[in-house]
Symmetry: C2
Subunit: 108 residues, 2 copies
DNA sequence: TTTGTTGTTCGCAAAATTACGAACAATATT
DNA sequence: AATATTGTTCGTAATTTTGCGAACAACAAA
């Protein structure tokens, strides 16, 4: 057993991926990335699920760092967190780029 | 409520992301992408978990389409599925690229 | 102060995920 | 035929995820 643990990069990439691992959350992120509007109510309107559930998904996205939210009474504004977005973008890009291009794998 | 459903792209991206949403599976994918070797035993050796669990993770990765496996008695060879890998790569790239670059979002 | 609007949190239920050891299956080897 | 090697599957347990309605909290307006 060479290493037996996961490194920070693997953990972080997995965290991002996990946050993106649900259609609702992809939809939310795409909606926010378009920035038609940022309010909870508008996000909720786009989705086929209860607002309590939307709120939970938003919480998870916040925990992943990909978005952040702030209260603007009486509403709540959610936005893409640019820094983390760019970081995730880079990490996924590097992840997918890091593949051997020879044919040493002789699977069909 | 505008749409009320998720489109194929959102579902597919979420499926890829979900498959990648665990450090073990990221580690497996990175290991296979490096292609030092493709056999179950070698993958298993790299990971700090029981082989039954490794087998399960490999099954999920197969279900996502990102890898495929074939029996080569007495071993089992696992490989990155190039087509799906490239597809995922493109989908993540497009996803992250599709963000507004003006400052219409006035979050701090 | 009462009412309305906007979201979050709580409590619960169902389903999925993660993990393990033991048992099993498939194939070589002796 | 008996044995060894390699992985998968089974059964189980603990935890997490997903989803909802109801209750609640915060604030604005009447």
């Amino acid at each position: 057993m060479s290493n037996k643990e996961y490194n920070i990069n693997q953990e972080q990439l997995a965290r991002f991926a996990k946050a993106m691992g649900h259609p609702t959350r992809i939809a939310i992120l795409q909606f926010l990335a378009k920035q038609t509007t940022c309010y909870f109510g508008d996000i909720n309107e786009e989705l086929p699920i209860a607002k309590a559930t939307v709120s939970q998904h938003l919480k998870e996205l916040k925990n992943s760092g990909l978005i952040h939210g702030e209260v603007e009474p009486p509403k709540v504004r959610y936005c893409i967190n640019r820094e983390m977005w760019d970081m995730a973008c880079t990490m996924f890009k590097d992840f997918f780029a890091n593949i051997q291009h020879n044919d040493s794998c002789d699977c069909k």
